[in-house]
Symmetry: C2
Subunit: 236 residues, 2 copies
């Protein structure tokens, strides 16, 4: 077994992706994997470049985004530890990355070769189930955001924060609800198709009302009920 890999087996086991597998199976699946240390804003996959690798987030977070025709960044998804990146495109020949992937703060990711996916991952139905399950979640996120398209700004932001609160398994030992990814207002705006200013106006308003508080780009939610009711806006 790869010595390199052995060190992170403990981490991998905790992810739902591998939880039912033995150490041997896991390390077989991650054969030839390389742990890459990234610093803030470091780019690991680029939109349009040949997709030869996929990855599993180990720690930190990664941002999937693209540049729109006006040259603005549009964020597709934020990936937390345990999520697989670029699995879908592994299923196609000569494919290119459909998004650009950048680290958000210091992060670590396990990089694996495409051949590994087609040869070892794809032949394991239980694993495919897990992956499709992850995709299903991603798809839900996108769909939910689409659902909010015509809702007012406050509903969009509230729903957005709630989504990222729910979906990433957070340590529930303390009551604090913290968004597990360091988010700037600009990134939230880029993810929702809103301008930074609009996001700021909404969120600083909530800050004053003690519904959320943010320090150092970590957002703490103090009044979930309010956000929920806000995201369910029904006029009249």
């Amino acid at each position: 077994m790869d010595n390199h890999l052995k060190a992170i087996l403990g981490e991998l086991n905790k992810f739902s992706l591998f939880e039912s597998l033995s150490d041997q199976e896991t390390s077989a699946l991650c054969d030839n994997g390389i742990v890459r240390f990234c610093k803030h804003r470091e780019e690991i996959f680029s939109f349009g470049k040949p997709a030869d690798y996929f990855g599993i987030v180990l720690s930190g977070a990664y941002k999937l985004s693209r540049l729109n025709p006006m040259g603005e960044e549009s964020v597709i998804h934020f990936c937390a530890p345990g999520e697989v990146i670029a699995a879908l495109v592994m299923a196609q020949k000569n494919s290119t990355y459909p998004v650009t992937v950048k680290a958000m703060g210091p992060s670590r990711i396990l990089i694996l070769k495409k051949e590994n996916y087609t040869q070892n991952w794809l032949v394991r139905p239980e694993l495919i189930l897990k992956i499709q399950s992850q995709l299903s979640t991603r798809m839900s996120l996108l769909q939910n955001q689409k659902l909010m398209q015509r809702a007012p700004v406050s509903a969009k932001v509230a729903a957005f924060l709630l989504q990222y609160l729910m979906n990433h398994e957070h340590d529930s030992n303390d009551d604090q609800l913290i968004i597990p990814v360091p988010l700037t207002r600009k990134e939230i705006g880029d993810a929702l198709g809103l301008s930074v200013e609009t996001v700021i106006r909404t969120m600083s308003d909530w800050g004053k009302k003690d519904i959320i508080s943010s320090t150092d780009q970590m957002i703490k939610v103090k009044n979930v009920e309010f956000l929920i009711s806000e995201s369910e806006v029904i006029p009249d």
Copy 2:
């Protein structure tokens, strides 16, 4: 072999999903399948109901949508023949449909049981590749639309029409570019998060300029170049 099924084998073979498979393999995969004839607006899957079946569109088209908090319909995707519906949720236990599925005009769909997916489909890597490839396309559509969030209306509609022109393999024997799905202005609006009126204003404008023409809910594109340039809006 099921006699019922035999009749549609010819149709199934044409779909890229089954193209490399023998008739025997295909019919094994579609074992116990039922061809369902739907009329316009008929609902086959309902959001939130237990997901026990998935389906393959045979003819016509199906609309995947959800109701947003304000009670308006939000369209997630339009499915053309050959597309698999609800495959992703088959991967989860006790799952419910993430969307409501309705026929658009008279349509036919092959309905299959969940067990079939987990037992027969999931164990065939080539098939999984095809399905993941379809999902990848769906994901791209969603992402592209997300990319256009901040673009002006005309760019959104243009990009939308182009997407549906490209993605569904159209008979290229004649030069006519026709959107392969009967779309109302309202549905386009629901898909893009725009009001009907806005869509109408944009499209009737194009109609006058002979860029598109629409009869009977089928939209014909006469000047693709214009739409392309419109969707690539760069201000200044």
